[in-house]
Symmetry: C2
C-alpha cells in the first residue's frame, strides 16, 4: 500500500485504522446485549461482523460525508448499517447452495462454524438490524427524517433485487456459461457496485452535498465500485491464500466469469487503472477534504483482503 500523507499528516493506513476502531465499537453497541436469547444467533452475527473486514464501505461513507463538510458523527450509524448489509451478503454468498466457500478472510465461513440454518438466520438478522439502525438515525444522529428516509431508500434499493441480490443471482446463473463483457459489467455493477455507490452517496447526502457534488460523488462511487470487483478477480489469480484469506483459484475452478478470464490479466489491470483515474478525476472540484476518498481509490486496487 502506498503510504501518502493526508491533510492532517496521517497516512491512509492510520486514517483507516482510526475509523475502523470507531465503526467496530459502534457495531458492537448496535448488535445489542450479548445475553439476548437465543445466544447462538447473537454469536453467529457477531462472528461474521467481526471476522476481520477492512470496513471499506463504511469508511467510504464517512470519507464521503467529510469530503462535503459533514462529520463522522452524522454518518456513523449509516456506515455501520452498510457494514451489516455487506456482512449478511457474505454469509449468504458463502452458503453451500451458493458459492460453497469454507474460508472467508482466513477463517471458517459462518455455516462451517454455526451450521447452515443459523448462518441463514444470522444473515437475515443482520440485514434486518441494518434497517432497525437506519430507521433510528434521526433519533441517534439528529438527521432530518426526510433525509433519513432518502438514505434508507437508497441503501435498500442498492441491496435488493435491483442491486446486490440481483447481482448474486446473475452470478449464480452465469456460472459455467460464457457471458459477454457487458453482461459481466452489469452483474458486477449490481453485485458489488450498487452498495459501494450507495455507501458513497449516503455519506454525501447526509453530509449535505449540493446536487453537482452528489453527482461527482456518484461518479466516483460507480468507478471505484467497478474497479473493486476487477481487483477482486485479479486477486483470485495473483493473490496468495495468506493475502486473500480465502481459497485461491476458486473462480477458475468454478468456471466463473471473471475479467482476467475474459479480457486477460494485463487488460484487466489497465481497465482497473483507468477506472481509478476516472474516479479521482470526478473529484477535481473538491479540496483536500476529499483526499481520503482519492487515496481509498488507489488503495482499493492495491489492497489485500
Amino acid at each position: 500500500m502506498i503510504i501518502k500523507s493526508l491533510k492532517n499528516n496521517i497516512p491512509l493506513s492510520q486514517y483507516i485504522d482510526k475509523y475502523k476502531a470507531i465503526i467496530e465499537e459502534n457495531l458492537l453497541r448496535l448488535l445489542g446485549p450479548s445475553e439476548i436469547t437465543p445466544v447462538t444467533l447473537y454469536q453467529s452475527m457477531h462472528y461474521s461482523l467481526f471476522a476481520g473486514g477492512k470496513r471499506i464501505r463504511s469508511i467510504l461513507c464517512i470519507a464521503s460525508a467529510e469530503a462535503v463538510g459533514g462529520a463522522i458523527g452524522d454518518v456513523i450509524h449509516i456506515a455501520s448499517a452498510i457494514e451489516m448489509i455487506h456482512t449478511y451478503s457474505l454469509i449468504h454468498d458463502d452458503l453451500p447452495s451458493m458459492d460453497n466457500d469454507d474460508l472467508r478472510r482466513g477463517k471458517p465461513t459462518n455455516h462451517k462454524v454455526f451450521g447452515e440454518a443459523t448462518a441463514i438466520l444470522a444473515g437475515d438478522a443482520l440485514l434486518t438490524l441494518a434497517f432497525t439502525t437506519l430507521s433510528d438515525i434521526s433519533v441517534l444522529s439528529n438527521i432530518p427524517p426526510e433525509k433519513a428516509l432518502h438514505v434508507i431508500n437508497e441503501i435498500a434499493l442498492s441491496s435488493g433485487h435491483y442491486g446486490m441480490v440481483g447481482g448474486q443471482q446473475i452470478d449464480m446463473e452465469s456460472q459455467g456459461k460464457r457471458i459477454d463483457i457487458s453482461s459481466l459489467e452489469q452483474m458486477h455493477m449490481k453485485k458489488t457496485g450498487a452498495l459501494i455507490r450507495a455507501s458513497v452517496r449516503s455519506g454525501g447526502i447526509v453530509g449535505g452535498a449540493a446536487p453537482p457534488r452528489l453527482l461527482a460523488l456518484t461518479e466516483y462511487g460507480e468507478n471505484i465500485g467497478h474497479a473493486f470487483q476487477i481487483a477482486d478477480d485479479i486477486l483470485d489469480v495473483e493473490g496468495s491464500i495468506e493475502d486473500v484469506g480465502k481459497t485461491i483459484g476458486k473462480d477458475i475452478a468454478q468456471n466463473k466469469n471473471t475479467y482476467p478470464a475474459m479480457i486477460g490479466l494485463d487488460e484487466s489491470k489497465a481497465l482497473e487503472k483507468s477506472l481509478i483515474d476516472r474516479a479521482i478525476e470526478a473529484l477535481n472540484d473538491f479540496d483536500e477534504s476529499a483526499d481520503p476518498l482519492r487515496m481509498i481509490a488507489k488503495y482499493i486496487v492495491e489492497r489485500k483482503r
Copy 2:
C-alpha cells in the same frame, strides 16, 4: 367461519376478499417490472408472494388503521411491506436446512421449484423490498417522515433477532428437546407474535391512534398473535391436508414443541379461546369501526390455511 355482518353489512369473508384484492394488486405493482434482470429471481419472488396467502397480517394492519379513523390509502404500502416480510420468512423457514418442507399452501415450496440458492435470494430480496417500500411511504402516501421512520423501526425490530428471526432460531434449537411452556410462549411471541403485533400497531400509528388506543391495539395484537400460533399447532393435529395445504402431522414427526403436545388438545383450545376473548375485550372502548378487528380475532382460530 362464522359469517357475521360488519357495519356496512358485508360479511367478514367479503371484507377480506375485497382487501386481499387491493393488497395483491399493490404487491404486484411494488414488485416492479417482470422483465427486470435476472428474470428467475423475479419469478421466484412472485411465486411465493402470490402462492395463496390469506393476507391476514396486511388486513390486520388496514383494519387497525380503520379502527382509529385512518383509511386504507394511508397504510396499503405498509400492509404490503409486511406481507413481503412474512413471505420471505416462509421461504427461508421451508429451506432444507430449516424445516425442510416440500409443500406450502398446497404448492411446492420455493426451493422445490427454483432451487435453494434462488429461494434464499428471493427471500433476501423480498425482505429488502419491504424496506424499499417502507422508506418510500412518505412519498407514496403522504405519511409524515417521522411517522414513517417510527413504523420502519417498529417493523424492523419485530422481524429481526429480537423478534421473528430470533424466534425461528429458538424453534430450530428446541427441536427434539423438551422445553417448558414459558419458553414455548417466548418462542412464539418472537416467531409469530412480534410481526402480528407490529402489523396491528403500524396501522394504529399511521391511522393516528392516541396513546391509550395504541395500547389497546397492542394488547389486541399480542393476544391474537399468541392465539394464532396455538391455532396453527392445533391445525397440524386436526386439519386435513386439503385444509392446511402442507404436510400434516409434521410437528409430531419432527418432535416439535407444540401446545397440543405440551398441554393437550383440549387445554390448547381453551387457552386459544381465552386469548381471543382478551383480544376482543381490549377493544371495548372502540366503536363499530373496530368490528373487522373483532371478527378477525374469531376468524383466526377458525380459519383453514
